[in-house]
Symmetry: C2
Subunit: 163 residues, 2 copies
């Protein structure tokens, strides 16, 4: 099955989490009007079972397309937010929460123009899919006790991702 | 008094908080080796008195130099982290925690090459000082009950910041 990435919008991504972007966000001036604050762009859901928020940087190697989809992961205890530190596009591949991932439930999106995403707790997602060049992302996720990573694998050839 | 900004290093900034950068940070491969994770780059100290972490974007207008220093602020309940979404330099002006700011205790730094900063709780800092062009920053700070902003003002002409 071939999965084509669609434009990333809040509406289309709502079943999986939040789009981190300024367009359509609540904002107000601060610092005597010299700065505009785009406020509380995505929930940070990390505190259950003794968790705490972490600030990390992920440096991702670019993937070649079409990408053979072999693995998906989820974090059962927390959200995870990715904000690109470049204005380069990247791909997002997700599936709804649940014990398994069905190939036919996979949805793919193209993040553009600095859009970031926050995966809601339990949402299945593919590891980072940078394009063309090595790309840095700021990542807000969870540290602390508990098992917060599940992975599931697909047989080769079942699904590939295009753009 | 004229304050000249110095290079931003972890050592020099240690009394005020953390430098968010990959150089010298703990890192390890994830995602089958396709991504390097630079892990837990700065503490997120936001949970006291019912606080929660917020993800925000600050869009800062550039300041002209020398900058007349007229105001400093602090957050008594939380840290506040700034990561530039461009590779442009910006200035950081800080003073140690305490009831007041003494002009002679002000320290200024130039963040370069994607360096970010996290101000430790209670550290006095100047509102964002972007340079030359409008600049976006991802900001991790605190939402929730309690008064988390103090400001202090200086008479005109007492201090100016250069680069």
């Amino acid at each position: 099955m071939r999965i084509a990435a669609q434009s990333l919008t809040r509406e289309a991504f709502a079943p999986f989490g939040d789009v981190i972007e300024t367009d359509g966000s609540r904002h107000f001036p601060i610092n005597e009007g010299t700065t505009e604050r785009f406020h509380d762009l995505a929930p940070v859901d990390v505190s259950d079972e003794g968790g705490r928020p972490l600030i990390n940087l992920f440096r991702a190697q670019p993937r070649s397309l079409p990408l053979a989809v072999r693995i998906m992961e989820r974090h059962s205890l927390s959200s995870q937010a990715f904000v690109p530190l470049s204005q380069r596009p990247f791909l997002v591949l997700v599936a709804p929460p649940g014990e398994t991932v069905r190939i036919e439930d996979l949805k793919a999106f193209v993040a553009q123009d600095g859009q970031g995403v926050s995966y809601r707790r339990g949402v299945w997602h593919h590891p980072l899919i940078a394009l063309e060049v090595e790309s840095d992302f700021l990542v807000i996720d969870r540290g602390g006790p508990g098992e917060n990573l599940d992975e599931t694998a697909f047989p080769a050839g079942e699904a590939e991702l295009t753009y």
